[in-house]
Symmetry: C2
Subunit: 341 residues, 2 copies
DNA sequence: ATTGGCACTCGGAACCGGCGAGTGCCAGGA
DNA sequence: TCCTGGCACTCGCCGGTTCCGAGTGCCAAT
């Protein structure tokens, strides 16, 4: 069905179309690639490829364009992830090296990815549920109000203020702080509920109501509402090729990008930091992204599942090998930096 | 030069053009507005307005379109800020009311603004330099490393890790924490350097090197690099009217929006929270925004200068009265909420 | 199986003419 | 002096027509 030459033809079509953005015909194909056969032969192969749904012609008497299925085959069987140039590697290192805190790391990463790939970059903050508690701080604001500040080992800081049913002294707050930390410092967030469940009973009755209130806030905020955060950069790249890549308009794409839920779903299926996942055109879950492709992977894996995901989004007409290489490289460096810091 | 009727004509042109997005001619103008004069008279006025640069015709034998100068006159002299409907007010209250922390307030605000105005919304986080220190927390990570966490009265939390020249015990860290807080808790960030300057000399010599390191980090992070943060929402609204509003392409606009520096400059000139500032077309500092208008104001003013700015960005062809009303109303509610929380 | 030849298709560019919205100007009237 | 109706003029837009050529599918020959 699909002999080697047909695959070569498909590869050539994809590569040409990606670089020229014009439907590619049999003639130009044999000119630009050493296929060793005549245009007529290529035409036969193209007819077969079209029959199988890998390519299509926008209109009669025009060249062929890869379909989603064609890109899929290309990505799965014919492309190898392209390693970065050493200049690019150095750029990554120096650019990410100067980061001072987590916000900075994430911010630099997303801008770097956008610049390297000329696409829209998406970076997810390290997942709270997969992080551990470094420290829980209680800051008295007034006698009936404290600020709960939770710091994770990945550098995330979350905070909420809690109204207390009974006034607390500074010493009592300090006591509570110690009690909380001795129980959950170092524990994974996912394990926090179990470790805190019997805390109200373990404190003197006078504190019980307050402890219950604080505990409830901690749990609600940090476990039940994991509030995964996602940041974007490079949305201007969507408009790079004029209306060529996103024919209707880029509006549905921008809308999809603003829906956190959609973005998070793009990373939901990522289960390890080794492979780069590619989702092409109508494979995407959200209708607004049916003209786009997403190249994503996990980062910050410590053996098992990754801390979070990152990736880029662009037109289906995309340089997959190069993009995959950039995404993989950046993910590795970020993981490395987080492990050090 | 500009009698009352000419102003009425200009107002009518602006209003019609904003609502129809088509160059408006003398005939349609007298139909839709009660000007009480004939098209011919209006034509004469239009010729005068064009002479003075308030309107222009895209090409001969087309209607007139307001220029930047025309919009400016309209905003300055002919439009009053349109108050919101009570339904809109209720929507604002209920939408912003549920916020749990600062991130949430800012996030909800920016989405609300985008939705109310159908433009791109921009919200600046409360300025660090104008905030006060609520609490400075030192969290030991290892014996030679501590995490500095600063919490402001506006709810912002900033954190950095510091490598210590000498190891510190937990008790010593606690001691430092007390020393720092007794000096700067409650102080404005801008005043922090002065209050900390002699701290290294006031501690036992064994701690001196560490105190110097921590102090340096605190100052560097929070004063010298105030790192103002800005968030966006509603970029999809740029593509709302197809290519009508941003003729070239929306790319330069998206690019400008990604440059924090540019955005921050838009708020730099805001000095009070009462007035709504409008910047039209080529009045904007950045070339990419020459086809756009910015409507901005301050929020969270506590008597003197506001904590930060917020606003929206859209095409120059914009409903200025309505947009100004929405921006002002949202700014007031946000200020209120921050004052309470 | 591959290839050169050939007739055919059809989108896009270029051209053209008519329509009509909109203008500027002018002369007459309040 | 200002307003108004009338009128000739301009020019962008729209629909129709023509023409060109890239690209195709098919077929007979190798």
């Amino acid at each position: 069905m699909l002999d080697d030459r047909k695959l070569s033809v498909l590869r050539a079509i994809v590569e040409d179309y990606v670089s020229t953005n014009e439907p590619v015909g049999s003639k130009t194909l044999v000119d630009r690639h050493q296929l060793g056969v005549s245009p007529a032969t290529v035409r036969n192969d193209m007819a077969a490829l079209e029959e199988d749904g890998y390519i299509t012609q926008p209109h009669t008497s025009a060249g062929r364009v890869p379909t989603d299925k064609g890109y899929r085959l290309f990505v799965d069987r014919m492309s190898s992830v392209k390693p970065l140039s050493s200049a690019e590697r150095r750029a990554i290192e120096s650019f990410l090296g100067g980061a001072v805190d987590l916000d900075d790391v994430v911010g630099r990463t997303v801008r770097l990815l956008a610049q390297l790939t000329h696409q829209v970059a998406v970076v997810q903050y390290p997942s709270l549920t997969r992080s551990s508690v470094r420290h829980l701080e209680l800051v008295p604001i007034s006698s009936t109000r404290v600020l709960v500040v939770l710091i994770t080992d990945t550098g995330r800081v979350e905070q909420r203020s809690v109204d207390l049913p009974d006034p607390l002294s500074e010493d009592e707050v300090a006591d509570l702080r110690t009690r909380f930390n001795s129980r959950i410092a170092g524990a994974r967030l996912a394990d926090a509920p179990a470790k805190l469940s019997d805390l109200p009973e373990a404190v003197p009755p006078t504190l019980r109501a307050d402890v219950t209130a604080v505990t409830a806030t901690v749990l609600e905020t940090l476990v039940e509402k994991p509030e995964e955060r996602v940041v974007l950069a490079g949305t201007a790249n969507l408009a790079r090729t004029g209306a060529l890549d996103f024919p209707r308009t880029i509006r549905p794409v921008l809308e999809a990008l603003e829906e956190q839920v959609v973005l998070l779903r793009l990373f939901g299926e990522i289960t390890d930091a080794q492979t780069v996942r590619v989702s092409i055109g109508e494979e995407n879950p959200h209708e607004g992204l049916w003209t786009a492709s997403v190249v994503a992977t996990g980062y910050g894996s410590e053996g098992d599942e990754p801390l979070a995901g990152l990736g880029v989004l662009g037109p289906t007409r995309m340089d997959y090998p190069g993009t995959m290489g950039a995404v993989r490289a950046v993910a590795r460096y970020v993981g490395q930096i987080l492990a050090e810091g």
